[in-house]
Symmetry: C2
Subunit: 304 residues, 2 copies
């Protein structure tokens, strides 16, 4: 079985992870978390979200975070979510050099999650992509519900291809394929990528798997076997699942790094240093990490 | 990717799972658990262990369990662990028709876990296997540490082959390959099975994966792709990891069933009915199931 020789991990904990955590996390703790993630070797760290602070209070300090990180002066990548032009302008003013937009492969999920059709969401992103091009800012496109939707059930691979191709035509440099509710298994991953890869090169695709049903690691293996080499993950499995209280959400970065170490695939991340980030945020939130690797290794640290 | 059309699950929760749980579980709760597991469609349920009740008090009622289950009159399989002839005789007297012995692929693990060398453990099993043959009792052989040992680290695939072949020669009908500390990844699983399968047919091998580092489901997928069609699992992920407090142990039956449903591979188990077993034992032990699938689906049940 062949795997890519190098995997790029996009750490989404400080944004996608924390935005679903109920406990408010102060700016300095977020910055310390990001600093530890960077120290562990993560080169792509999603740093914030320029959305309404009323809707997502946890992300209200994203401009402060970006200002402190100074993306233009850093060799690292600190993308932020910008759902509309207002958010993009604020992100740009704070110094962001990479942004992301969030679309869905499911009409009903789009309606319920961002209150508009897929077509309308793409129309809303058009000025963001135009402004980004003008300012030399890279734009990542998230596509959610690629392996299933909480409202529609199964999603046709071509529906995923259609919205992904539109986002790429509009100027996105990468599509992050989200199994938003974690219902996928390796068979579904292969079916999806068999449909996508004749239309979109693997280098423009990332896998974003949720571990709600414990399938994320197996899905990442299947996606790697199809040629994908970029995966999103969240330190300590931050984020949970907004669709089932107490269930797991984002796959944990620690678990993915453990997998890659075991497969002999390089990702440039030190698991030991990453545990310092897990311990920091789990300690702050006052709960054990959702990562099995972090729980096992931190328990060993504790007993030594 | 081709998978076997049918997978046999060997449910180890009532023995391998419960023996590591600190809370004493009364006989009637164990029997209710086994009854729910059987009602869910599990055909192979490890029911007890004929070891010293001083060493493993949780298993002290194994004879009562087996007597109540009446394996000779049941279409189901209720294997029990019998580490020596004394245990075998007691199991036979209670009515057991299938037993299991427990060896290791690692010398140091064998010494620390069962206080004898691998060769001495095989010598100890010889009279058990002879008596089993005489009474028409099937014997399963567990081999632990097949992908790594807490004391020796990496284990050579040929060491696993050697002890497995000896157990088969002695009369075992099936070898359960145990990743006892959960350190394996799909690459290690393939390496091991590439070494074993030219020497032992897949039909005589089972996979017993621990989820300590979240790799069990990916490892099961890899093993299925190599042709294995029998896997051990534990309802609610019962058992934890005796080598790291708070870490996960046996892969959860619910997670394996979810995987197989997603792959379109038949296993004859109803996930809905299985959740009744998860809810029973998790409720009794007063802690959430270690199974991600059970946590997500029971949370949904609770919110409906």
């Amino acid at each position: 079985m062949r795997y890519p020789s190098h995997i790029t991990l996009v750490e989404v904990g400080p944004r996608d992870g924390l935005q679903n955590e109920a406990t408010p996390v102060p700016t300095d703790v977020k910055l310390q978390l990001i600093q530890r993630l960077a120290a562990a070797g993560l080169t792509h760290i999603e740093a914030g979200s320029f959305v309404s602070p009323k809707r997502v209070p946890q992300m209200a300090d994203s401009a402060d975070i970006v200002r402190a990180l100074q993306p233009a002066a850093s060799p690292l990548h600190y993308p932020v979510l910008t759902p509309n032009l207002q958010g993009f302008d604020a992100a740009l003013a704070a110094g962001a050099r990479e942004v992301a937009v969030f679309a869905a492969a499911s009409e009903r999920f789009s309606q319920r999650n961002i209150q508009c059709s897929i077509a309308d969401s793409l129309a809303r992103f058009a000025p963001v992509l135009a402004a980004a091009r003008q300012h030399g800012v890279a734009v990542r496109g998230y596509v959610s519900c690629v392996l299933g939707c909480p409202y529609e059930g199964d999603i046709a691979p071509q529906a995923v291809a259609d919205v992904s191709l539109r986002l790429l035509e509009m100027g996105c440099t990468e599509i992050s394929l989200g199994d938003t509710i974690g219902v996928g298994t390796p068979a579904g991953v292969r079916r999806l990528l068999d449909a996508l890869l004749p239309q979109i090169p693997a280098s423009q695709l990332a896998g974003h798997f949720h571990d709600t049903y414990g399938m994320a690691i197996a899905n990442i293996v299947a996606a790697m076997e199809c040629g994908l080499a970029t995966f999103d993950s969240s330190v300590a499995g931050l984020g949970g699942c907004p669709y089932a209280q107490g269930a797991s959400g984002n796959v944990a970065t620690e678990d993915v790094v453990w997998l890659l170490n075991g497969l002999g695939v390089e990702c440039g991340v030190s698991l030991e240093a990453l545990l310092d980030a897990s311990a920091l945020i789990s300690g702050f939130l006052g709960k054990p990490p959702a990562s099995r690797v972090a729980r096992a290794l931190l328990a060993k640290r504790g007993s030594e």
